[in-house]
């Protein structure tokens, strides 16, 4: 069994406007020491998936069905049904978490050292001194300058990049098997982003930690991930090894995302491509294939004989070993359809 | 409900969803109705009467003595209507208040045909004739409380109207102008805050030779604006830098126009909250002053002054329980309205709901 597996996860928010399924039947798995990139536009449910893993979804949100399995010596445990006290041992112990906002995710009234040491003390029977020593060791590991001095500083004295290093140190302090990184570089400057990603990749190699990297940035995925899952409107639409996905993207949405990336070689010359339309709000997910209102294929295939994209909802099919696509036209998508991507001038 | 409604429309919809806040608002509306209808609920003057061929509304005298028709003074009614009406004009008729009791004096024996004199002192225990009892002098407590509603409501609105105006003006000037204006207004605010309120009020009440309930309201207003000023200053400081204000300034709007048309409407929601809580506080201060014997002078009917009577006669528990509960419920209602308002207009809470 893989180290970590999510099966048919449904997380919904119960608001005054009714039930809003932000995550609607997501399945994915990660092997030991591997990196999975979960990609999608904002609002597609990728962050809610991340929060569901450690049951950190806030009040109106609830995990409704599905299981989140973590391989353990005594067999896999389901984090969805695990008692609170056992879950707490997993949080920070076997699964570490890095959040998007390094500015607000650290407690302003405790020193950096205290916050890392707390993570150690919560999971290991050791003295305060040992925990502090471990915190210092971690700060060195994440290559923070002047670690001895930083240990006793407060978060507001550090820059965004330094704080994210502290977050990484905290998430890795107990040598977890898996790190969930929810947009770890989004809030940072571009140059800092690259440093943080390098650091994550380096630490994964040295510590053998598996990483679930959640991002909207395909460039980040290309550089760091072994495998990629693309999410759209609460569902995974395509999943494949990274090299396969970038070489042979099949789902029209993935193709659109890849085409929408600015090409550094054609700097300023080529027009930017965009996917027409907007990401639907969870209250108004289209029936059938959720991408079809924006999809060129759907429009081109709207003939009386072909299966209409409105219904039924397509299943995630394995089109080649390890490559899954959720599209009625999955078999025919090998050769790109001329109308698959509408090119616009931005 | 219209699809697109303004900020206040949305706030109202959110407010309506809170049952306690709605109940409190209904209570306040009910109090206002009692205040307006007080002379028709309890009194010894007819609501409407026909006397010597003409129609009169003597009950309006409860709002202002000068409204009592002169003819009744000329005919020597001396405030006692039932027998005089019948004796001096057999053709007359009258519609009487629901309860024939006066808030300012005890009803005398046989003033209303067949009704005995009001009991006084310890004998005034609540009974069928006097559900809330009577006070030391035999005045019906229910009538006093019905007429005291006006004072309670007026105190809240008038004094907070004054405090709100001063607070917003001072805070807006300090927050918008900055510099020496801010230094000056901040210092004035601090000084007023440091002077013990009750001392200020007691001293001013002593200086005014014949204090009326209006003086009390004015003083509470003039001493209670500091919190509003500080909040307004903060809001103006925050909004001064907002893009739309810069845009208005770039478009050539003058400072007064910017303050009134652009900043104030956006700052109003947070400022309104302490004003609502201030209404509750003003009612407490007024009844506290009346209780200490420094409030509106007799014969103004104030809930606090009924309590004052109980201090020397603790056995007369009804002089504490009924007005006490009335003050409590009114203060509670205003606090609940304030809190409902806060939750209906707080942008953070709104975002949390999304």
């Amino acid at each position: 069994m893989p180290l970590f597996e999510i099966r048919d996860l449904v997380t919904a928010f119960h608001t005054t406007d009714g039930r809003v399924p932000a995550v609607d039947g997501v399945s994915l798995s990660i092997d030991r020491g591997r990196t999975l990139g979960l990609v999608g536009e904002s609002g597609c449910g990728k962050s809610v998936t991340a929060m569901s893993i450690l049951r950190l979804v806030a009040a109106p949100g609830r995990i409704e069905t599905g299981s989140i399995l973590l391989d353990s010596p005594a067999g896999p445990v389901d984090l969805v049904t695990l008692p609170d006290s056992d879950l707490r041992r997993v949080r920070g112990g076997r699964i570490g978490m890095i959040f998007q906002e390094p500015m607000t995710s650290l407690n302003p009234v405790f020193t950096v050292g205290d916050q890392i040491a707390e993570a150690v003390l919560l999971h290991r029977a050791c003295s305060r001194g040992a925990a502090r020593a471990r915190a210092l060791e971690m700060l060195r590991l994440v290559r923070l300058a002047d670690p001895e001095q930083r240990l006793d500083e407060y978060p507001h004295q550090l820059s965004g990049g330094m704080r994210q290093r502290v977050m990484i140190a905290m998430a890795l302090a107990c040598e977890p098997d898996l790190v969930v990184a929810d947009e770890p570089t989004t809030a940072l400057d571009v140059t800092i982003q690259a440093q943080i990603l390098d650091l994550l990749g380096d630490l994964r190699r040295r510590l053998g930690t598996a990483i679930l990297l959640i991002t909207h940035d395909l460039g980040v995925v290309a550089e760091t991930c072994d495998e990629v899952a693309v999410m759209y409107a609460g569902r995974i639409v395509e999943r494949a090894p990274a090299d396969v996905l970038f070489a042979r993207p099949l789902h029209p949405y993935t193709i659109g995302l890849l085409a929408a990336r600015p090409d550094p070689d054609a700097a300023g010359r080529a027009p930017l491509r965009t996917i027409p339309g907007m990401v639907p709000a969870p209250q108004r997910f289209p029936v059938g294939c959720r991408f079809h209102p924006r999809c060129g294929h759907a429009r081109a295939a709207a003939t009386p004989e072909g299966p209409a994209c409105e219904a039924p909802a397509p299943e995630l099919l394995e089109v080649e070993p390890g490559h899954f696509v959720r599209c009625h036209y999955a078999e025919r998508l090998g050769e790109p359809h001329p109308a698959a991507v509408e090119v616009r001038f931005a | 409900m219209a699809a697109v409604d303004g900020f206040w429309g949305q706030a109202w919809r959110r407010y309506r969803r809170r049952p306690l806040a709605m109940a409190a608002l209904l209570f306040v509306v009910g109090l206002a109705a009692v205040a307006v209808l007080a002379p028709a609920i309890a009194g010894t003057k007819p609501v409407v009467c026909r006397y010597k061929g003409r129609l009169y509304a003597p009950c309006l005298a409860y709002f202002d003595r000068r409204l009592e028709p002169a003819i009744f003074a000329k005919d020597k009614f001396r405030g006692s209507y039932p027998r005089n009406l019948a004796a001096k004009d057999p053709q007359s008729w009258a519609i009487w208040p629901l309860v024939f009791q006066d808030p300012y004096r005890a009803v005398r024996a046989d003033e209303w045909p067949g009704r005995p004199e009001n009991p006084a002192m310890d004998k005034g225990v609540p009974s069928r004739a006097h559900p809330f009892g009577t006070d030391q002098a035999g005045v019906d407590v229910f009538a006093k409380m019905v007429h005291g509603t006006t004072v309670a409501l007026l105190v809240g609105f008038v004094s907070m109207g004054i405090a709100g105006t001063i607070g917003i003006v001072v805070g807006a000037l300090g927050g918008y102008c900055g510099g020496w204006v801010d230094a000056l207004t901040s210092r004035i605010t601090e000084i007023v805050m440091c002077v013990p309120t009750l001392v200020l009020i007691l001293a001013i009440m002593a200086i005014i030779e014949k204090p009326t309930i209006w003086h009390t309201m004015a003083i509470i207003g003039f001493t209670g604006w500091t919190g509003i000023a500080r909040l307004t200053r903060g809001e103006f400081l925050r909004l001064k830098g907002a893009e739309y204000v810069t845009a208005a300034r770039a478009a050539g709007a003058g400072p007064v126009r910017i303050m009134l048309r652009h900043i104030l409407p956006n700052a109003l929601a947070p400022i309104l909250v302490p004003i609502t809580f201030g209404i509750a506080a003003a009612i407490l201060v007024e009844s506290g002053l009346s209780f200490l014997g420094f409030g509106s002078p007799p014969p103004t009917a104030s809930w606090g002054s009924i309590l004052n009577g109980a201090r020397s006669n603790l056995g007369m528990w009804w002089l504490v329980v009924f007005p006490g509960v009335a003050i409590f419920l009114t203060v509670l209602a205003y606090n609940l309205v304030g809190e409902g308002l806060q939750e209906a207009t707080d942008p953070r809470l709104r975002e949390a709901r999304k």
Binding site: G93, F99, A119 | V195, G288, L314, W317
Partner: protein, 328 residues
């Protein structure tokens, strides 16, 4: 730090001068003076016009109030708060006598408030949304709106009038009903029994307010991102609540603490008046009624200094509990 304190001190002095001028002016503008207020109460002490003139001169009441203020301020700079006109005692002695009883009541109330408000506030935060939390919150809300003077009168009726002769009877007013030569233990018990009702009255409103305040600031703190980080680390619910959230609510809480300083020393005029407790609030009330200018001014000065000190204390404490804030 030193320059900050110096600046605050100078500003405070300006404020103090303004406050004392205002209050002195107001006090002197009140109709009557200490002599008329005193003599009016006691018809046996009729004085002749000449005697009255002489006394007025002796107390400096014949001069205009700005002159009187300057004289008072001059004496103050020499460390002399003056003598009470109606009580024939130095103002400092009077304040000293009244400080103890006030601190006894308000200090006890203060301890009770914070010892109860913090656990209650934390409890309400931990159980947010449950039936028992709503019940507790509703009761606190009602208490917060309940006027102290009504509560005081009701307590007096229940524990003094209706409980007369039972074990529940509590003294109606005053601080002690034993002669000063009674045994110490008996006197302590006696004073404690006299204290119960005033302390209850002074406790409940602030208790309700502070608990709601803690609950509200906790609700704000719990929404922050760092709370999620703490939970992701594996911290348990109490640890998250007490160590991570409550430590952050201390920041607004110390401001509240600093602002409650004047009330702690000044006592409550209404409560001391109802229970005829010989404290500062009652002294203030009486001195205004007696037009005893030196006492009014002494007390005003004390209140104002305490208010300013409380604000300074709040700001200093603020920078102590929030590493992001420094007083510079």
């Amino acid at each position: 730090m030193a320059t900050y304190l110096l600046r605050r001190l100078l500003l405070g002095c300006v404020t103090l001068v303004a406050i004392t001028v205002v209050v002195y002016g107001l006090a002197r503008s009140m109709p009557g003076n200490p002599l008329t207020a005193q003599l009016g109460e006691d018809p046996s002490r009729k004085v002749s016009a000449a005697d009255y003139e002489r006394m007025q001169r002796a107390y400096g009441l014949d001069r205009s109030w700005p002159e009187g203020y300057l004289q008072w301020a001059g004496n103050l700079l020499r460390g002399d708060l003056g003598r009470s006109i109606t009580r024939k005692q130095p103002v400092t002695t009077l304040i000293g006598e009244r400080l103890g009883p006030t601190l006894l009541v308000s200090g006890t109330a203060f301890l009770l408030i914070w010892m109860l408000a913090i656990p209650l506030g934390l409890y309400a935060s931990a159980r947010a949304g449950t039936v028992d939390e709503r019940g507790v919150s509703l009761v606190l809300y009602a208490l917060y709106s309940f006027p102290t003077f009504v509560a005081a009168l009701l307590l007096q009726i229940v524990f003094s009038v209706w409980s007369k002769g039972t074990a529940w009877e509590l003294p109606l007013f005053g601080m002690t009903s034993l002669p000063p030569d009674a045994p110490l233990a008996a006197r302590i018990v006696d004073v404690a029994r006299h204290m119960i009702l005033p302390v209850v009255c002074q406790t409940y409103v602030s208790l309700a307010y502070d608990t709601r305040f803690i609950r509200a600031t906790m609700a704000e703190a719990v929404r922050q991102d760092y709370i999620r980080t703490a939970r992701a680390k594996g911290a348990g619910p109490w640890r998250v609540l007490v160590r991570h959230a409550f430590r952050n609510t201390l920041i607004p809480l110390v401001t509240l603490l600093g602002l409650s300083l004047p009330a702690l020393v000044g006592g409550s005029i209404i409560i001391e008046q109802i229970f005829t407790w010989p404290g500062m609030g009652r002294l203030f009330f009486e001195s205004i009624r007696e037009r005893d200018y030196p006492t009014i001014m002494g007390l005003t000065l004390m209140f104002s200094v305490l208010t300013l000190l409380g604000q300074l204390l709040a700001d200093l404490l603020y920078s102590a509990v929030d590493p992001r804030v420094s007083v510079e």
